[in-house]
Symmetry: C2
Subunit: 703 residues, 2 copies
């Protein structure tokens, strides 16, 4: 297999063939050529058109075979029925990547899907990678390479910068681009992956992680076709300190249905997507505006680790709005140091000096106030992120020049901070502030949301990459779905603790077991022929001492013999009597996109009614498991709330981590595990799974 052909040529190919090249710059086969010529692309452009000697002033070739050199990249802009032939010819010549604009493949149904599979298979046999089909393609504003038929409307006046965009959808990608242009966001690469017959979102992210012109990545996805590839790419992005913001649509049930009908994608469970993105330090944007707000601020390259915010405002009301939004996001607004507050009160006796620092409208009357105020906040308050609310006043001709000057002086002394301003006014005035290094928002709440995202990036980048826990040896699964006892034994092999219990053939074994387990115990008759033990009085609860164990053993055998004379009696099961545990649930679910995912929640109504659970990709270590346990709303039941005993969180975490490792070691036949209930005992006394259900897929032919 040669699918590992590098695709970095997609950013700036030495040479690019255009199959179905048109002389008409408005047609799909003409647009990329016209755009590359306009943007000064320096690679060789090789138009292929059987009917023309020249296309847009460039020499044209009659066929792929006639090309005078092997192009690194080929753009295929012919109708679907001609794609197979073109791709064969390109693969034969040794082209590295083909970009397939053509529609009429998997997005149209089964027939198109088969054709797509055939096209991709042919390419792969020669090691050629494919972007598309049904793809709007790729644009690199730094090199001027336009492997896309995005219309010139979209390409006009886009500022070149460090933000790259990857979108599955061409139509929504266009909307995004246009919105990015309106927001004056500097863009680097824009890739639209369409049907993802071969190259996926993850491949594009990987490409951009290694691209020095990309600093920030915006992702738009309707479905995820390659979970593993995406996870690896997002891990690489985090290691490279490149923030990723993702809009994954299809959150709702209605949305998910629409997403499935729209793309040929596997729509993963949305809560799993949330969990995976959270794990990888990716910020999930809920709206297009939020996506763009965050990438615009992220392009500044400042990601504070501390989630503290200093606010300077000319309106107390705005200070309250900002405080409300910050609290919603978990950003804290620590108070200014006492001495700094007194300094500000000396400058302006009516100011509110804590944080938000409110200069009141007085700042307009005395413009010299801003520099000492801002300097005190940044220098003495020590905030890593600073938000200034100056609204329309800050953009008026009488105020803007002085305000810019004073803020720039502060920024020059503390260039490592994140500076955000809320201003309203003419575009050129706002852009001047932007050029000074301040990111401008018109709405205070949106500004706070973007700042919150920066500190989430900061914390993700600061985390040492977590080594996966040591892999368990592969688990040998039975051919059939195991019963409870088998399931418990399988899990016990991986160190997952059941409520202590022991099968005992003789009364004195039972006494010894009870001594070891600790009184009181539960005694249960053990017989493969008696399924409903309680019905025959085959369970004795709260057996308190050794004498009672001996008596109970005899009682159970006698009752069993009386009720079922033919039954094979194997003795008695001695189990711990659990009295103090808090009910929890743990489980594993195989996600179609991301593989085994572990779940933890509190038992009973919390899971049933409130869906208060946490999810995490498997495997993970005990510290992650502990974070998971502490993250659910109802975890206070384990943490000593309202006089409850503190539960054995360490034991729970160990069990959850082991379960995640077991799920990986069990391989793809494992569909799900339910441990319900799991009893969390008081601190130091462990945690026990009282029941276990394992669901397996049928073995494949190769076992």
């Amino acid at each position: 297999m040669t699918t590992s052909t590098p695709i970095d040529c997609l950013l700036n190919p030495r040479s690019v063939a255009v199959i179905g090249a048109s002389d008409d710059a408005a047609r799909i086969g003409g647009r990329p050529i016209a755009a590359m010529l306009k943007l000064g692309f320096t690679g060789r452009i090789l138009p292929v058109n059987p009917n023309r000697r020249e296309v847009q002033g460039l020499p044209a070739y009659a066929s792929i075979a006639d090309l005078p050199e092997v192009p690194e990249v080929a753009i295929v802009a012919v109708q679907a029925s001609l794609v197979l032939e073109a791709v064969s010819a390109l693969a034969t010549r040794g082209v590295r990547v083909a970009i397939l604009f053509s529609a009429g493949f998997a997005e149209t149904g089964a027939e198109g899907e088969a054709l797509q599979a055939e096209v991709v298979a042919i390419a792969r046999r020669s090691g050629m990678r494919v972007l598309g089909p049904n793809a709007l393609g790729i644009i690199n504003l730094h090199s001027g390479f336009i492997g896309s038929f995005a219309s010139s409307i979209l390409l006009g006046q886009i500022r070149t910068g460090c933000v790259s965009v990857v979108s599955q959808s061409g139509a929504y990608g266009g909307h995004l681009l246009n919105a990015a242009r309106a927001a004056n966001i500097g863009l680097s690469t824009i890739a639209m992956t369409g049907n993802e017959g071969d190259l996926t979102l993850g491949d594009m992210v990987r490409l951009l992680v290694d691209d020095p012109n990309t600093g920030v990545i915006a992702l738009y996805a309707e479905g995820i076709n390659d979970g593993e590839g995406l996870v690896e790419a997002l891990q690489a992005a985090r290691s490279a300190r490149k923030p990723v913001v993702m809009m994954k649509v299809g959150r709702s049930d209605v949305g998910s249905a629409a997403a499935r009908s729209h793309t040929a994608s596997i729509a993963g469970n949305d809560a799993v997507v949330d969990a995976v993105l959270n794990e990888l330090g990716v910020v999930r944007a809920r709206t297009t505006e939020e996506l763009l707000d965050i990438v615009r601020l992220a392009a500044r390259g400042v990601y504070p680790v501390a989630n503290t915010l200093g606010v300077i405002t000319v309106s107390g009301g705005a200070g309250v709005i900002i405080s409300d939004a910050a609290e919603d996001l978990g950003l804290s607004l620590p108070e200014m140091p006492r001495a700094a507050q007194e300094k500000l009160l000396k400058l302006l006796p009516f100011c509110a000096p804590r944080n938000p620092v409110d200069t009141t409208a007085q700042f307009v009357n005395d413009l010299s106030l801003i520099e000492p105020f801002a300097e005190t906040m940044v220098g003495e308050g020590g905030y890593q992120a600073v938000l200034g609310f100056f609204t329309y006043a800050g953009a008026t001709p009488s105020v803007a020049p002085r305000l810019r000057e004073q803020l720039a002086a502060v920024r020059a002394r503390h260039p490592d901070r994140l500076y955000v301003l809320v201003l309203q006014g003419p575009g050129d005035v706002l852009r001047a502030y932007e050029e000074d290094g301040f990111t401008v928002f018109e709405d205070p709440t949106r500004a706070v949301v973007a700042i919150g995202a920066m500190s989430r990036f900061g914390r993700a980048f600061a985390q040492a990459p977590r080594a996966a826990p040591q892999a368990l040896p592969p688990v040998v699964l039975p051919a059939d779905t195991p019963n409870e006892l088998q399931a418990k034994r399988l899990l016990a092999g991986a160190g997952i603790v059941n409520a202590p219990e022991r099968a005992c053939a003789q009364p004195e074994d039972a006494v010894a077991a009870a001594r070891e387990i600790g009184f009181p115990v539960v005694l249960k008759i053990l017989s493969p022929d008696i399924l409903h033990k309680s019905d025959i009085g085959g369970v004795l609860l709260n057996v308190g001492d050794e004498e009672a164990v001996r008596a109970g053993f005899a009682t159970l055998l006698a009752r069993a013999h009386e009720a079922a004379p033919q039954a094979r009696l194997e003795g008695v099961l001695v189990a711990r009597q659990i009295t103090q545990g808090v009910e929890c649930v743990m489980g594993i679910q195989r996600d179609a996109v991301f593989g085994p995912v572990a779940m933890f929640g509190m038992g009973g109504v919390f899971v049933e009614i409130l869906n208060d659970v946490v999810l995490h990709r498997c495997p993970f270590d005990e510290s992650v498991a502990e974070q998971m346990i502490r993250s659910i709303r109802s975890s206070s039941l384990l943490l000593g709330a309202r006089g409850r005993p503190l539960a054995d969180i360490a034991a729970l975490a160990k069990m959850l981590s082991k379960l995640s490792q077991f799920a990986v070691a069990a391989g793809p036949r494992l569909l799900s595990i339910d441990l319900n209930p799991v009893f969390a005992m008081p601190d130091g006394e462990g945690a026990f799974a009282a029941d276990a259900v394992i669901e397996l897929a049928a073995p494949t032919k190769n076992g």
Copy 2:
């Protein structure tokens, strides 16, 4: 008292005096005059200035006493120390409303607060109303009356329309105005109430409800000083079908602290504010943008009662984003009728015809498609709100004129629907669509949020105004906080049911009581001298038949006599043994702003840990109570979830409604009531309060 002076003259006074009038149009005392002259205000302007014969070309008067007529309204623009004298003189002359620009009152501390109280008291004695002090005042764009020193920057180029704004804060009011201008929102009246020494938010809303030029009201508040007045004004707005959108800041703890330090306001509990606004059909906006988005769409005057949305899109991805947002807001996207879907498929075989209806990018190639698509959706789909996603393509010169024409034709045939478009492009193109009657958003999620608000208004307006339940006779409260038995008796007098129990002096009484209550029963020793009954074995549970009651009676008396020979024994309390009930909690809390507020939630961890409760202003009837009960997340515990029995919701609702009436009848000494637990029995078996605590304030001198 004459505080009922009408204030409608504030919108268009026949005559207005300006105390502290300045010839300089840039000064605070000059700005209103300059602005009124510019905007063509037709009332008489009477400048008062001891040093000038003429101000801005108008004859000036040396003092208030010298004014040739009694002005309806006076603007006071002098320093704080001169306000008292000016207000006295104005009140003496019989002015109806004084607008006090001057700062230096309650917002500065105790001294300023005293001065403010004195000023307001003098005004009120003569029946003069006061707007302010520390108020940016009032602006009416229809009459050109500018009782405000808002700078000319704010007044430039604001479109006149039907949206009125009431803000407590001048600074944030200015920010709002500027943002409204940028969003091209047509404004009517803008009122900024400052310290609210006399006239409050509620007074301003009441004024605007009666103003024919106001169709929509936007409210910005930091604290609410007159809860009752605001509630009445909002009820009047709903009756008049005038939508109100409110931004009440200070949601968070940090925010609340900032709000208190910023204004001289009482910050009510935020969850109570949510409950009251929800009750009154007011939509609460979380951000400034959301506030403006909603009022902009509300200005169309279309408020669909059904919360159904039809979506036509050129991008499947946008359809998914819109579906996600709609689901979040409870807007439903019903499928198109079958026949209509087939019609669309005939027009465009590749379209997605359900809803969202996806024309794909094909619409650009065949512009004639839009009218039949849109007509089919509106005419046959029957959606009351229609959202079209056309993004940048819909604003291009080649598409916009045809698209406008076709959409306008559909709208002309169905003018009663709510039409919203998502477009990106030059301002003049978007404005042309707006003039055609379509409201344009650039972000699809923001469009959906605004549409969701319209249907909330529609449902609120469609509700018949709910008559308050019949008032209970005033409750006679004891002088001291009552003990449990007293509390239960007080509540029982209002029809609030305790667990059935009867005091019985003789064994045969107890037997009769048990027969009536139903077996099993609980027996408790009754003695004013035995407080801790359980300690002496004075409680017998699960007493199952008549014989056991007789025996139990004797046992309890014997145990009591043995344990406490001196105790006065009054017999035995026979109570129902509750076995099947679901634990709930109910309560009353007196809110400083809105008076008694009732609370309902599920017992135990739901209230303790999850704060899953619902609040409502008192009093309310049983149908409101039932809605409350059904609205909490954990109500499924009462509604038969997961095999649980259906609880007696009607009995719970009756109890909750009675509690709300009791709270009103009890008057202001009632601080709180806790009924915890309340047992909701299976359907038909009632609901019982097992415990009751009532907290009272000390009686006032007049009883």
